[in-house]
């Protein structure tokens, strides 16, 4: 099953490679990983999308917790959270298709962020389903290139991301 894990880490050099090295060294998979500073500049937040059965996910959380620079690990799966991803899509826009591209962008409430005589670059934010849907619609019109950010996620409501203490304490 697919899991979205939010990891609070110390904002120090080398932490990203400790985390990615853990995943590669233990054969865990990473579908996407994003990282940036939090409101506290000494900490960074990683959002990792991964896949595995319950036992693997338990190991992933525990192994992450074991890294000295990891402050908190929070597997959001099964909890109520909001997640978003952004994609920049460069799509061919010839005379015949320019209007069609714009219509689709409009329906998805996207933005055109760059224009050239033969292409549009558009920006779309949403959950995964939305991004997949627009990509599918634009494919027949010829996507020249696309870049995705990977997901970021945050719990719904008042809870912050730190509410799960080292959850593995005494299991």
């Amino acid at each position: 099953m697919r899991h979205v894990i939010s990891v609070l880490v110390e904002n120090e050099p080398g932490v990203l490679s400790r985390v990615s090295g853990l995943f590669s060294g233990r054969g865990f998979n990473i579908e996407s990983l994003t990282v940036a500073e939090t409101i506290d500049p000494t900490a960074s937040r990683m959002t990792i999308v991964t896949r595995g059965d319950d036992q693997i996910l338990e190991q992933i959380s525990k192994q992450l917790n074991k890294l000295i620079n990891v402050i908190k690990v929070n597997d959001l799966t099964g909890k109520s959270f909001v997640n978003r991803e952004m994609v920049l899509i460069k799509v061919a826009a010839e005379d015949a298709t320019r209007a069609e591209v714009l219509r689709i962008v409009d329906i998805f409430r996207g933005k055109v962020v760059d224009v050239s005589p033969k292409s549009y670059t558009i920006e779309i934010t949403g959950d995964e389903g939305k991004l997949e849907a627009i990509i599918d619609l634009l494919k027949p019109l010829r996507i020249i290139d696309l870049v995705r950010t990977g997901q970021v996620a945050i719990p719904r409501g008042k809870k912050d991301l730190q509410y799960v203490k080292n959850h593995d304490k005494n299991i």
Binding site: V9, E58, Q59, K62, Q63, K66, I68, I71
Partner: protein, 561 residues
């Protein structure tokens, strides 16, 4: 007053109570070595940096303290990697200081530059690159703390040369505050209560004890628990010494070369109490066949060990000593200590297994390696510190030497590092100059760090080496014999130095035994010599280690002699 990074480093070591370190010099650490010149800290100069780490490891395993080594950048640093990985796999607390090129050259492929933080990331508990002399003492303090707390392990600190020259005012923090690292020591009370209940209900319990018993110092609690409820105990290779070898409740080691009774007891038990062990594949064999009829309790300080290989019924994260103490308190309070009658049948069954399938060998005119180990055990009264190399020698040492005390058996369990035993023995002898320290070696392994003979001589360390010389990379040969139709591809080592002459070349004593009746006199002479000694026991070439569970088989399917 301001001090240089090099001075601060040595000050920190002194404040941590470090008196002996192991190392090797080079350009990047000249400033530190200059300070060592008139420092009260003694550096044992090894002949290869790998040995510095193994020696620090042997020091750590025998004393329970953090072992420390210091090497130069680049090749000096990369030479330590095998030692670090060895310590990491066996959870041994070490602090490895490596030199590094000056900070402004880092990343430039400078002379003798190696990215040690990158290289050792997967085989250290944590590591640091010190870029600012002002963070040096704090990082050293943290490193010691991380190395010895929780599940212990090696920590590496990379020291750029310019940082060792820089000056700053020195303060040593008296506390470590790591918001992201707080090991759990106290086990969950409710879980421990459940554990007590299961213990009292079970009819066929077995304790499976690992290296955690030794690192947490839990052997007296283990003994108390086992005796209180008459529970038989099997140990992993790493757990050897954690429960007295000659004790009637000791089943010996389990797993691939475990005793018949230990493996049968695991297979037949109704409750497995796993204490500071990690269900390593060498212990469990095929997982589905491991303790198939049993509820499993697992106590470990490392949450990642729990549910990694085996799903358990009662997981308890905590320090095994504290958990056992709490368990004993509960059992004592409830006065449920006399449970002998329940396990009588079980114990009878186990002694039956011991009678029908004891560890055994037979010796005629050629020396059997098992006999050598047995004699070493008898003649040292089980009071020596024994290290081993890797291979058959290691397994025979663990089968035939009965260890009475924790911290007297040094072996590379997790990584299986040939060349570990001799330098580890040197480290142990540095820690305990008056104890008998013996490396039970193979003819192949000993050649991997044989250069350390010079270290032993230089520091008057009377380490004894007992080579079980079968002329083969015996353990690999045994697999070829059993699983590769005796095609002995590249395992015959009939070209080796004359070990007696080699001893002579180093100015130490060399002795050889080729017949069974020469074994005892050789050991006798070696034990009475104040010098390092090499004993070359020319043993049966194609002897095998048995029982043996073929890889991938359940542990009750043993090949017997």
């Amino acid at each position: 007053m301001k001090l240089s990074g090099a001075k601060i480093l040595l000050k920190c070591l002194q404040l941590e109570g470090v008196g002996k370190i192991f190392g090797y010099p080079g350009g990047a650490v000249l400033d530190i070595f200059d300070q060592l010149f008139d420092s009260p800290i003694d550096l044992i100069l090894v002949r290869h940096e790998q040995a510095a780490v193994h020696a620090a490891d042997g020091f750590a395993r025998t004393t329970g303290k953090v072992g420390v080594c210091l090497v130069t950048s680049g090749p000096g640093a990369t030479n330590t990697v095998t030692g670090i990985a060895t310590a990491y796999m066996d959870s041994i607390p070490l602090l490895i200081f490596t030199g590094q090129v000056p900070t402004k050259l880092i990343g430039n492929d400078a002379f003798q530059e190696a990215d040690m933080v990158g290289i050792t990331r997967p085989c250290t508990k944590h590591n640091y690159l010190i870029k600012d002399v002002n963070s040096l003492s704090k990082c050293i303090k943290e490193a010691f703390y991380i190395a010895r707390t929780g599940r212990p392990g090696p920590v590496l600190i990379d020291l750029p040369k310019d940082v060792m020259k820089e000056l700053t005012s020195f303060t040593y923090p008296d506390k470590v505050e790591l918001k992201s690292y707080q090991p759990t020591y106290q086990g969950h009370r409710g879980q421990i209560k459940k554990m007590a209940d299961l213990l009292l209900k079970s009819k066929k319990p077995v304790i499976y004890a690992g290296g955690g018993i030794i690192s947490s110092g839990a052997s007296s609690q283990l003994l108390r628990l086992a005796e209180m409820l008459s529970i038989p105990v099997t140990t992993s290779l790493m757990g050897i010494g954690g429960f007295p070898g000659p004790h009637p409740l000791n089943l010996g080691m389990l797993g691939m070369h475990g005793t018949f009774r230990a493996n049968m007891a695991i297979t037949g038990c109704d409750l497995l109490i796993t204490l500071g062990a990690r269900f390593a594949d060498r212990d469990t064999g095929k997982i589905d066949g491991f303790a198939p009829h049993s509820k499993i309790i697992h106590v470990d300080i490392d949450p990642t060990s729990i549910s990694k290989n085996v799903q358990v019924d009662i997981p308890i994260v905590g320090d095994v000593k504290l958990v056992l103490q709490e368990l004993i308190n509960i059992l004592e309070k409830e006065e449920k200590t006399g449970r002998e009658s329940h396990s009588k049948e079980w114990l009878t069954q186990i002694s039956e297994w011991k009678k029908t399938h004891p560890l055994a060998y037979s010796q005629k005119d050629r020396i059997k390696p098992q006999y050598v180990v047995e004699k070493i055990y008898e003649m040292t009264g089980g009071d020596a510190i024994i290290s081993t190399e890797v291979g058959q020698n290691q397994m025979w040492a663990s089968q035939y030497y009965l260890f009475k005390e924790p911290r007297t058996f040094l072996t590379s369990g997790g990584l299986g590092t040939m060349g570990y035993g001799f330098p580890a023995a040197i480290g142990a002898q540095v820690a305990f100059p008056d104890k008998t320290v013996i490396d039970i070696a193979g003819d192949g392994s000993i050649q991997m760090n044989i250069q350390e003979l010079a270290t032993a001589v230089q520091y008057n360390l009377p380490v004894k080496i007992a080579i079980l010389n079968n002329g083969y990379l015996g353990m690999v040969r045994q697999w070829q014999e059993l699983f590769y139709q005796k095609r002995y591809s590249h395992t015959c080592m009939d070209v080796a130095p004359d070990f007696v002459k080699l001893a002579d070349a180093y100015g130490i004593l060399g002795l050889r035994a080729t017949k069974p009746d020469e074994v005892v006199p050789v050991i006798e002479e070696a034990l009475s010599s104040p010098k390092p000694v090499i004993m070359d026991f020319v043993v049966e070439k194609e002897e095998g280690v048995y029982p043996m569970v073929p890889a991938g088989k359940p542990i009750n399917q043993m090949l017997l002699v």
